[in-house]
Point group: C2
Chain length 132, copies 2
Amino acid sequence: MTTADRLSDVFAALADPIRRDMVATLAEADATVTELAEPHDVTVQAISKHLKVLEEAGLVSRTRDAQRRPAHLEADVFGLLTTWLERHRRLAEERYRRLDAVLASMPDDPSSTPLAERATTTHDHPDDRTTP
Amino acid sequence: MTTADRLSDVFAALADPIRRDMVATLAEADATVTELAEPHDVTVQAISKHLKVLEEAGLVSRTRDAQRRPAHLEADVFGLLTTWLERHRRLAEERYRRLDAVLASMPDDPSSTPLAERATTTHDHPDDRTTP
DNA sequence: CGTTCATTCAACCAACTGGTTGAACACGAA
DNA sequence: TTCGTGTTCAACCAGTTGGTTGAATGAACG
């Protein structure tokens, strides 16, 4: 699976409030399906499905303890998110700095569009790679 | 709208590879719908819809320039994500440290379950608040 | 004016999601 | 073996999503 696909799965998994709540709970301690279900007024089966989504996104792993199957938060995946986030936050910041510079070095030239200036520039930006 | 809802919208918006790509492009420069559509082989209407999703998630704002409506990346929202991410990464780390401590101060006591130890502890954790 | 370009609206469709109920499976205990 | 508990599988349903085509709107330009 490509990094883009994994990112999609992780973001999608965290787009649901119940699932985010489950992650929050698991950040404090491993927990079973029934334990995770208790605070939410949906059936245990629904929680089981949610857990499967988290599992397939790589956010959670399962162990076995007799008939119980405790879930464990796989915190590594947060790194993936942080990387993506950092990259784009950084880009946006650089963009601001660049724009400020342009504005500063431009007294009043009417031939330059104020916003959306040269949008067709050098953006050959494939995105979603495992950091080049 | 509550913080949880906003988080859901942002995560959902970023769960789509095309939309992530659009964000990547916008991180470098503002761009119009047609410009954003060019690299992807879907119709301009589809991109317009994607842009609306990003807009409603607060990730993008629109300006007007004659018949064009350039999109601008609203980088502030990244802060919301970073906050959530940091909080849970931090929790997970603390959990590891705590667990290590427990394991260290426990020579070999058979009455303690190895993993999933006391899952029914103090987790009154409402989650998704605007940082208390 | 009519044309052309950029964008959006509207209706439609297939696929996916989040939920349900009911049945099945997997263990440990009696 | 039977019973109870925890978990999952299967089928189903309503609502959402991501895409399409076709028509409508908005603004510059001849």
